[in-house]
Amino acid sequence: MGQVEDALRYLRRWQSDEARQLAETLARVAPGGPVPEELRLSLAGAKRRMPISPVLDENTGILRLIMGPSPDVVFRAFEIGADAHRGSIFLIDNLVKKDYIMGLLEVLVVRLRQEELPSQGQALQHFLEQRALTNHEVNRNDNMGELVEAALSGDSILLLDGLTVGLGVSTRGWEHRQPAEPVAEPVVRGPKEGFTETLAVNLALIRRRVKDERLRVEHRRIGTHTGTDILMIHLAGLATPEVVAEVGRRLDRIQIDGVLESGYLEELIEDHPFSPFPQVRATERPDVVAADLLEGRVAVLTDGTPHVLLMPHTFTGAMQAAEDYYQRWPMASFLRSLRYLFLLVALLGPSTYIAMTTFHHEMIPTSLLIGLMAAREGVPFPALVEALMMEFTFEALREAGVRLPKPVGQAISIVGALVIGESAVRAGLISPVMVIVVSITAIASFVIPFFSMGLAIRLLRFGMMLLAGTLGFYGLVIGLLAVAIHLASLRSFGVPYLTPIMPPTAEDMKDLMIRAPWWFMRRRPREFPVGNRVRQRQNAGPQTPGKGGGP
């Protein structure tokens, strides 16, 4: 069993108590017998303290033990140079691009076959870095831990006899989705590119939009098992250093076994974990990230997901859609005002109906009241129960529609519309007015551009309905005040969540319910104390030619 003997030799060369203990345990393994999993785990746990041996076989032996018998772990041995210097490439299949490997091997085996390689370790390393591998990005790995992590990230590790470092050659490349229009954030006018699951592609999409050397990118690896690559991005000079530092601190505090989606990070870094309101924005759109970077926010990219986190995030930010800034301002302002109106409908639609029909008939004009009562005649449930049944059914239908495959999802929609709606009315279980109210509310909840905010509103709607059903308008006021107090006490990375409404910032009101013309928004929002607040020069508005002037 060669790998065990090589590993034993490695451990005996590594002078430490830990190595001695590991060697004793390894020595007890029967020749040809299986290596106990506990021993492999102990070796993996010690990998960051394990130096690189100058003997190639010892390194490959210990690496084989650490990595286990996985079929995608590849060690490709070769000889380079005129004196047939022994070497090996350690890589993980499918995480590397085959063309890169072919190129690398061609350089090492073919081009260098006549070369006299230096025998000294330092000189050999210098030769490879400076003369042989000039077409590749090369990183030095000083211990087995770094080496394994680099291989698991898609690097190919070059190990040579006599070399006490592993040279990680960047050969990353795997099958990935091409940038496509984000399903959850489509636009009529605007870029149709969305982020993908590949971190490098996502970073490139941002770089393409922000061609500025001040774009700072900080790398972190989070997740003891997943080792997920995280990039924290901001524009130096625009983002507040305190916010940048705070985001970094919160990311550094995370100790978790795995990060499979940016939602993990969102929950781990937000200010108020028990709030239903999202305090970090997630987007799939590179243009949204670029715009937010230009306003001094910080972006966090997570490998393996197209959802990029943006912070600080405010309530009003959730009501802004990317397209608001691409359409002409009168239309954008109208649509945004409509959104705020329908936000209220989404939150209070059914509860207002319940309160009015149950407690405050005097508010309804007599003719309408007679109509409503006639429609409700025969309905065996109070308005609250009726509304709750409809809302729960609708939420279930929506959830089913999202989870099911598209063709089946359409069938569910038909079932929902025809069977639940029409049949329930005919059966006298619900009134037609309630169907209208729930439908309008459903449409209203889709008007909110940021999906997580829509979810929060949907959740709160049920509480409002219960309050309206028990205490009428008084209950609604109590519920609204509780929500308002909650919102007023929220902060996202130090920024008040309700800014610029509360505390009021007159200057930022031009991008609130009304989206002012671009030439009028001369300065960046005041909500973030950015270094340079000037967005464009003065008098940047379009200049019409004078009488008789102009072409």
């Binding site: 205490l471 008084y474 209950g475 006021v477 005040l481 107090i485 007023a488 006490s489 509360m502 505390p503």
Partner: protein, 368 residues
């Protein structure tokens, strides 16, 4: 309790104006019109002038305390026992008023909005949300006060237009036919309500620029008085000088008169929503003041437990107080006015002594 919190002068004035006018709006018109008839609005303006001066004086006292709360300063100036007692007198005042306000809300809601609903449920619901606000701190309360006041201002701008068809200019004629006497008498009745200015003892330490305390206090007080004055004038214009004093909620009845082109009508509940919000701000702020004063007087670390206890007490007390008619009637009785004014004046006196002691001490140490 976040002692490092600072609120801007604007928010300070918003909170002051909101808590000052909230209860007055619904209950004061009937009482004042009963005494001063068509000149009732003058009594409010008279009170506003006096209250502004008192507010400025309180501001001066607070400036002597620096960033300390009045209760902290009293404890430091007069010792744990006497100073603490002074702070607790302030607590009882804030608790008493907050329970009265809760009772007002309870009465109005169970009579007008939700007949048959247990009053405890109504007061308990508002008490619970007010407690949540107190736990969240003064900042959210001040922020809520801003849109609430905006709502009130919008109402005040729209109301004269909406009620225009109902006006009777002769209703406010003749002017001062009975002399200034009834106006002065009515101003005495409303004095206890304006005496609530003493709650700025809680607000001033949080003001971001303490030097501006005089200006913002004056703006807040005059703002509150203007709102009440307008409602009084509109009530008189619509109902005349006799009817309002026989109404339980004169200003609510006023809102019910809105009927413009037979389209804009039955909208009084919209205004009630704003009024309930202002009452909530008032209850929340008074509970906050009571909780802070208790915490500082007893030398406690957190205000959360005292706030919870005080909220329960306020809701319980609200169940003990008599109904709206005895409340409105007693508001005009000399004993009520005297006790109330003595209580408010006493609190000012306690903190004035504390301020003078601290001032004297600082002078002695400066000489030394």
């Amino acid at each position: 309790m976040n002692r490092t919190l600072r609120i801007s002068g604007g928010l300070y004035a918003c909170l002051l104006a909101t808590y000052m006018h909230a209860a007055q709006l619904l209950f004061l018109p009937a009482t004042l019109v009963g005494i001063a008839r068509q000149e009732a609005w003058l009594s409010v303006l008279l009170d506003a002038v006096v209250t502004t001066l008192v507010g400025i004086f309180i501001g001066w006292i607070c400036l002597q305390f620096g960033r300390r709360s009045a209760a902290q300063a009293a404890r430091s100036a007069m010792g744990k026992a006497v100073g603490g007692l002074g702070g607790l007198i302030y607590t009882t005042y804030a608790l008493w008023v907050s329970s009265l306000v809760l009772r007002d809300v309870q009465e109005f809601t169970t009579i007008v909005l939700l007949p048959g609903t247990p009053g405890l449920v109504v007061a308990g619901a508002m008490g619970a949300v007010a407690l949540y606000a107190v736990w969240s701190g003064l900042e959210p309360l001040a922020r809520i006060a801003f849109p609430t006041l905006i709502g009130t201002i919008m109402t005040m701008l729209i109301l004269p237009v909406l009620l225009y068809p109902e006006y009777g200019l002769l209703h406010i004629d003749p002017f001062l036919s009975r002399g200034i006497g009834p106006v002065l008498e009515a101003s005495l009745v409303s004095a206890p309500w304006f005496g609530e200015i003493i709650l700025v003892f809680t607000l001033v330490p949080y003001l971001s620029r303490p030097g501006e305390v005089y200006r913002w206090t004056a703006i807040g007080t005059i703002g509150a008085a203007l709102v009440v004055t307008e409602i009084l004038v509109l009530t008189l214009l619509v109902f005349g000088p006799v009817l309002p004093s026989r109404m339980m909620f004169a200003s609510y009845t006023l809102l019910q008169q809105i009927s413009l082109a037979e389209i804009i009508e039955r909208i009084e509940l919209t205004f009630v929503v704003i009024w309930l919000a202002t009452m909530f701000v008032k209850v929340g702020f008074y509970l906050y003041a009571a909780a802070e004063a208790t915490t500082d007087s007893l030398g406690l670390r957190s205000h959360r437990v005292p706030a919870a206890v005080l909220a329960v007490m306020a809701v319980a007390l609200a169940q003990i107080w008599p109904g709206v008619i005895p409340l409105v009637t007693s508001a005009g009785s000399p004993i009520y006015i005297l006790v109330h004014n003595l209580w408010e004046g006493g609190i000012i006196l306690i903190f004035l002594i504390a301020a003078l002691v601290l001032r004297a001490r600082s002078r002695v140490s400066a000489h030394a």
